[in-house]
């Protein structure tokens, strides 16, 4: 492991220790935050009791569904928009503004369209992730070197093999950025949707614990979400670094 990675671990551990000390000495009162070690202990107890397993499964299932939907639909839409430059110029400012809209507000509409339960939450996660994927796809296709496309034309490659051998590999790093964002945004959308609207899932459990002044459960669940998201992101980060290293950049 190199110096940079060590420094990073040092900073993160130092920060956790700092909070631990502040909590233990009472600088941060127990009503505001419990020490990180206590969070971990409670989380372990919760996991062992199996009480939150259904919520965890539900949230993870929702995130996976939202993620696959947003990546596949986002890629298809991005590729389509890219082939109509006029349409694209018109829609660009709207894509850029998209993330300022509070689309949680459309939850009642989704209930009418998809029924109660998980589909509306998945729809919110999908709406969060899909535009990031569209934008990444557009970026990737923009940056395919002209010379490569001309070479493909010279070799009289058919559209399918041009797409598979030229377009996809050249756009891959940007598509990967989109995939990374889609997973992060699916998490954000699903958990925020559950937090505000739903009656099950991890987001809901956190909001429920907060409303009942159940700080222990609340912090244990928060720790779980943070660790889960960080591990998933770190996995994709390492994978991306490997891909980039193989390309010799």
């Amino acid at each position: 492991m190199n110096r940079v990675a060590w420094l990073r671990y040092f900073i993160v551990t130092g920060f956790i220790l700092f909070i631990e000390i502040l909590c233990r000495t009472g600088t941060i009162p127990a009503t505001v935050m419990i020490p990180p070690t206590m969070m971990a202990v409670h989380l372990w107890a919760l996991l062992a009791s199996g009480r939150i397993t259904p919520d965890i499964m539900e949230t993870i299932g929702n995130v996976i569904a939202a993620f696959f939907l947003s990546v596949s639909v986002g890629f298809a839409l991005g590729a389509m928009i890219h082939s109509f430059p006029r349409f694209r110029r018109a829609i660009d400012p709207f894509l850029a503004t998209y993330y300022a809209l509070p689309f949680f507000a459309f939850y009642p509409l989704f209930i009418v369209l998809f029924g109660l339960g998980r589909p509306p939450i998945i729809a919110i996660g999908f709406l969060f992730g899909v535009v990031a994927m569209i934008i990444a796809t557009l970026n990737g296709f923009d940056r395919i070197p002209r010379a490569l496309l001309k070479t493909a034309a010279v070799y009289r490659m058919d559209p399918l093999s041009t797409a598979l051998r030229i377009k996809l590999p050249s756009a891959a790093p940007y598509l990967f950025t989109g995939v990374k964002l889609a997973i992060a945004y699916s998490f954000i959308g699903v958990i925020a949707g559950e937090f505000i609207m739903s009656s099950s899932g991890l987001g809901y459990s956190i909001a429920y614990a907060f409303n009942n002044f159940d700080n222990k459960t609340m912090y244990a669940l928060m720790l779980f979400v943070i660790v889960l998201v960080t591990v998933v992101n770190a996995f994709f980060y390492v994978w991306e670094q490997r891909l980039l290293a193989r390309r010799g950049r």
């Binding site: 990073r8 993160v12 018109a90 300022a100 509070p102 507000a105």
Partner: protein, 244 residues
């Protein structure tokens, strides 16, 4: 000219889809005309404006904090190679956390009301701005910094006369994204445990099944966001063109 026509065409198609969904599920979605009517009604009522003022105030404070904090953090980290390498994955993973889960902590620290909303809006906006500013400085041509060193500029002078002008197009891109996310943060903050503001109005309308009000508030927010973003996008494109 053709571009304006395309935009109008796009909006017309979107309105047509909206109308079609309204016909499919009339109780879940108000028609475009009905929404605009309700919006006009709201704009005329006295009780609506305090909510607007509340949200705008929270949003402006959050923007100021997110902009200054994010720029400072990003520029300082960007100037330090090791700092940037260490901080990059940490910032990215904070960025991708579902920050709603942290909202209860903010409520416990700041209590209910304005400070909590501002803090929540700020944590949404500050990270993307910092990431963009940091990468802008890192990707700057090294010859600029070498020139600054040759001219014996102080750190503050280097920042003011070299780093910021060189990085400004990327910084504006970051500000644009930060703007959207800060607005979203403030609104989500108002949707949970709040008694005032536009986010509260939306939640309240959902609770009362008052679909026209919900749609009207969202429409007004969307118009505001699109207008502000179009302005920033225009600035963004102009700055990028100037540099290249």
């Amino acid at each position: 000219m053709r571009r304006a026509f395309d935009t109008i065409l796009l909006i017309a198609v979107a309105l047509a889809i909206w109308q079609a969904v309204h016909l499919l599920a009339p109780s879940a979605l108000t028609s475009p005309v009905g929404t605009v009517k309700r919006a006009a009604e709201l704009l005329g009522t006295g009780t609506f404006w305090p909510h607007v003022a509340e949200t705008l105030t929270a949003f402006l404070y959050s923007l100021v904090f997110a902009f200054t904090g994010g720029l400072l953090l990003g520029l300082l980290l960007g100037l330090n190679q090791t700092g940037a390498k260490v901080a990059d994955p940490i910032l990215v993973s904070i960025y991708s956390l579902p920050k709603v889960t942290l909202y209860p902590v903010i409520l416990l620290i700041f209590g209910l009301g304005m400070p909590a909303k501002v803090a929540f809006g700020t944590i949404h906006g500050i990270i993307p701005i910092a990431i963009f500013a940091m990468n802008a400085v890192r990707n700057m041509a090294p010859v600029y910094l070498k020139t600054a060193r040759v001219l014996h500029l102080s750190r503050a002078e280097t920042l003011r006369t070299v780093v910021i002008p060189a990085a400004i197009p990327e910084i504006v891109s970051g500000l644009r994204i930060g703007f959207s996310l800060t607005l979203l943060g403030v609104l989500i903050g108002e949707m949970f445990a709040s008694q005032r503001g536009l986010g509260y109005m939306i939640m309240n309308a959902i609770g009362l099944h008052d679909v026209p009000t919900m749609m009207a508030v969202i429409l007004m927010l969307a118009v505001f966001a699109v207008a502000a973003n179009a302005l920033l996008l225009w600035l963004d494109q102009r700055l990028h063109r100037r540099i290249t």
